[in-house]
């Protein structure tokens, strides 16, 4: 139930981001989640797409520096306090969250949160032990 996130180095954030999304769209690869971490002079784009292996191959061919990273994703109810409860589980088990972001798509009452921790397998076990369901695919 490890999710493969695609990480892409963005030389120039707005211009290159538009290119990445266009290339993926041209290849009919849908994006499920997306976030950008930026530093002073470059950005790192993190995306969840339907066919991660293919997406990395296409982006690399197009000259991008792209690689896969293991993350986990959980569904949380769209109500006050739900996210805090999930974060509590991690902190009680001393698992450090490196970063997290929300999926683009959500149903009326649920949101999907993508979470990066160092040991993804352990993260999944802990989440399950606490009665939550890590999702296996987007």
């Amino acid at each position: 139930m490890i999710i493969k996130q695609i990480s892409v180095f963005l030389e120039n954030i707005s211009g290159r981001l538009a290119e990445v999304t266009r290339i993926l769209a041209d290849n009919k690869i849908n994006l499920r989640a997306l976030t950008i971490a930026d530093t002073a002079d470059f950005g790192i784009l993190r995306i969840i797409a339907v066919k991660p292996d293919e997406a990395v191959r296409i982006l690399t061919q197009a000259g991008f520096m792209a690689k896969e990273t293991d993350v986990l994703a959980v569904e949380v109810e769209d109500k006050p306090g739900a996210l805090a409860a999930v974060l509590d589980i991690f902190s009680k088990n001393s698992i450090n969250i490196e970063y997290m972001y929300a999926s683009l798509e959500r149903s009326a009452d649920k949101a999907v949160i993508v979470i990066k921790v160092e040991d993804v397998e352990r993260g999944i076990k802990v989440v399950e032990a606490n009665g939550l369901k890590p999702i296996s695919a987007f």
């Binding site: 990480s7 180095f9 530093t39 470059f42 790192i44 993190r46 520096m65 490196e98």
Partner: protein
């Protein structure tokens, strides 16, 4: 390895040969309008023949601007019918410098290059692909005629057109190439891109010249291409390549002292420095008929290695060029050589071989930015590890040049790639 007797003359004999030939150079110099004036000004008579180094130092220096002022024929010592070729600096702005050659001049130049290539372990069974620009620039022709003189099969591809270079290297089993260091790095990149395997090539050595580079760059090229790389020194005013050359021991370049008198001077005081101290290289030609040069200031910074070399040649060596006094950047009052920056970058893991140095004004201060390309292997989705890489390079640079630079990481392929001489420094001040 065999070499001619003159390459191993006892120091005393070599020095008397130098004084003998210096007489010839002075004779030729007095035939040129430029030196007639310059030597007279310095109180040097036509019969002056130095008998010691102290006396030699009475001779005036010659600088590049003198050559420009003497353009086009002020430094020509022979009648036009004796001249068979000229080379000129390609300077896009300003007056070029021109060096004329008689047949004898060309043949002694080719002889020096032949000797140099032998020192680097080349032989007549080698196939030599010359990837240096042919033309007014001396790099192409200089090695070409020396390589032919040695008896190698010479393929004059010139610079650029990398796919054709590969075809020639593969089909004619090239064993030695002559190129700039940045072009060799480019070749390696291209091999990876095009999926050309090292085993398809028969390459064993490369002669590099044309641009300053560091020892780390040499080692990097040697590792990447699995070849031996030899450093060569030349300057168009002193013929071009073949002034000094590394022997197989790769421990400094033997400067051919039967063809040049070398000195190292302090560029500020103009006083000669003892062997081993770093300063500006000054050369006097000893075998040139058409354009003799006396105490020519090369602007190249190096030092003399006087200790005997394991190869047995007695001609002293010069160390890798540290930079040109012209290339030196003064950033917030500190002297910085681009070669120092390159050295740090080549040593750093996680970045590629391309870089760019930008110097600009930021208010009253100078700002130095070093742009490098991140290697795919070092790319991480974690901003902290990427920032750590930037910080590491920054600190390594600070330790080497005593200046705090801004360091930028870029995608591979973003910084301009050079197929010829690299101009990696952009100074907008």
């Amino acid at each position: 390895m065999s070499f001619s007797k003159v390459e191993a003359l006892a120091r005393g004999e070599l020095e008397s040969l130098q004084f003998d030939r210096l007489g010839f150079t002075l004779e030729q110099a007095f035939k040129t309008p430029f030196y007639r004036g310059r030597l007279k000004e310095a109180g040097i008579g036509e019969d002056f023949r130095p008998g010691s180094w102290e006396e030699f130092q009475r001779l005036p220096f010659t600088v590049k601007d003198d050559l420009r002022a003497a353009y086009p024929v002020g430094l020509l010592a022979e009648p036009h019918e004796k001249i068979v070729r000229l080379h000129a600096s390609s300077g896009t702005t300003g007056i070029p410098t021109v060096i004329y050659h008689t047949k004898d001049d060309l043949s002694s130049w080719a002889g020096l290059v032949r000797r140099s290539l032998c020192a680097a372990g080349a032989g007549e069974s080698d196939v030599f692909q010359n990837m240096m620009t042919y033309g007014l620039f001396t790099g192409g022709f200089g090695l070409h005629y020396g390589a032919e003189e040695l008896g190698m099969l010479v393929i004059p591809t010139g610079a650029g057109n990398t796919m054709r270079q590969f075809r020639m290297m593969r089909d004619f089993k090239t064993t030695i190439v002559h190129a700039t260091p940045s072009y060799l790095l480019h070749i390696h990149e291209k091999m990876r891109e095009e999926g050309i395997g090292r085993e398809e090539l028969f390459l064993r050595k490369a002669i590099v010249g044309g641009e300053p580079h560091s020892e780390d760059t040499r080692r990097k090229i040697e590792e990447l291409l699995k070849i031996d790389v030899y450093n060569c020194y030349g300057l168009s005013e002193l013929n071009g390549p073949g002034v000094a050359f590394e022997c197989v021991h790769k421990a400094g370049m033997h400067l051919w002292e039967d063809a040049y008198i070398m000195e190292i001077i302090d560029p500020d005081t103009l006083l000669p420095l003892p062997d081993g101290e770093t300063g500006e290289l000054v050369c006097t030609t000893l075998q040139r008929n058409a354009t003799p040069l006396i105490r020519y200031r090369t602007r190249d910074l190096t030092r003399i290695i006087a200790e005997p070399c394991a190869c047995g040649r007695t001609h002293r060596r010069i160390a890798r060029i540290m930079g040109r006094s012209d290339d030196m950047l003064i950033i917030n009052g500190v002297n910085v050589f681009p070669s120092q920056i390159e050295e740090v970058l080549m040593r750093s893991r996680g970045i590629g071989s391309n870089y760019q140095i930008i110097v600009e004004k930021a208010g009253a201060l100078d700002k130095l930015t070093v742009k490098t390309e991140i290697a795919s292997s070092a790319f991480s989705d974690d901003t902290r590890s990427m920032n750590a890489l930037t910080r590491y390079i920054k600190e390594a640079l600070k330790a080497s040049i005593s200046i705090n630079p801004a360091v930028e990481l870029h995608e591979p392929g973003i910084l301009p790639v050079w197929e010829g001489k690299a101009t990696r420094v952009i100074d907008t001040r």
